[in-house]
């Protein structure tokens, strides 16, 4: 299989995630777009692991670490979203401007 296939697939998913982060204003949708971007990175890691036939399996191991970090990120992120919804009755990120000077 050409190495370019998974790389272009990952680039497409990453760009879709970038579009989602910029175009959505609901915080839960933004979190879903971030998950898409993290998955695109994982596809790259696994593809290069297969291409290089790495004896230490660095690509696959780091893909697993990225999955663990993504789980932590989405847990904390949703807790913050719930807290904001409880206090402000909205989860639109352009209406949450507590830190704006």
């Amino acid at each position: 299989m050409p190495l370019l296939y998974p790389l272009v697939f990952a680039a497409f998913l990453f760009s879709a995630g970038v579009y989602g982060v910029l175009a959505r204003r609901n915080a839960v949708m933004v979190l879903m777009s971030v998950e898409l971007m993290l998955n695109a990175v994982n596809v790259n890691l696994v593809a290069f692991n297969a291409y290089l036939k790495d004896q230490l399996l660095a690509g696959q191991v780091f893909a697993l670490f990225v999955v663990a970090v993504a789980a932590a990120e989405v847990g904390i992120g949703l807790a913050i979203v719930l807290l904001i919804f409880r206090n402000r009755e909205t989860v639109n990120i352009d209406e949450v401007d507590l830190l704006r000077w």
Partner: protein, 164 residues
């Protein structure tokens, strides 16, 4: 074109289509369910790239846990349905499309330039015991760091989300 490449192209088209619908769907629950399709086709791509353990972790953690967490987040925040409520203005969406499309074009161009003719040789799938040895021998320190990070995230989420 080998059977592996055909299977990859089918999975990539399904995953890319689902990925686009995740970021454009007007209904937040539909977007979460399209995310399931995208993540499942990525798991299939891992299988084709000789990484079955990563594929099963993808199905268990992402499809099984993270999407369920996101659906709970949707339920608990009463997200209304409709484009106006959860998308930015048309001007901002056009800007986002320019940034996303430009990033895709740029990344594809760079990668075609750098790895254009290279091929992934067909190989035996990575066994789970080889991966386990790699994690617990060569990468044991980052593994421990990740476990502390998960504990910290768990405690942080409980502290943030509980009512006093």
């Amino acid at each position: 074109m080998t059977g592996q490449e055909v299977a990859f192209l089918v999975l990539a088209v399904a995953g890319g289509f689902a990925g686009v619908l995740v970021v454009t769907s007007r209904n937040v629950v539909h977007a979460a369910l399209w995310l399931v399709v995208a993540l499942a086709s990525i798991a299939g791509v891992y299988l084709l790239l000789a990484a079955p353990f990563v594929a099963f972790v993808q199905v268990i953690i992402y499809v099984g846990a993270i999407v369920v967490l996101i659906l709970f987040g949707i339920m608990l925040t009463r997200v209304p349905v409709g484009r106006r409520v959860f998308d930015n203005t048309l001007r901002a969406r056009i800007g986002a499309l320019v940034v996303g499309g430009g990033m895709f074009a740029m990344l594809t161009w760079f990668m075609a330039d750098a790895w254009g003719g290279k091929r992934i040789a067909s190989q035996a799938a990575t066994t789970t015991d080889a991966l386990g040895i790699a994690i617990f021998k060569n990468y044991v320190l980052p593994f421990e760091a990740v476990s502390v990070l998960l504990l910290a995230a768990l405690i942080g989420a409980i502290v943030l989300a509980r009512r006093d």
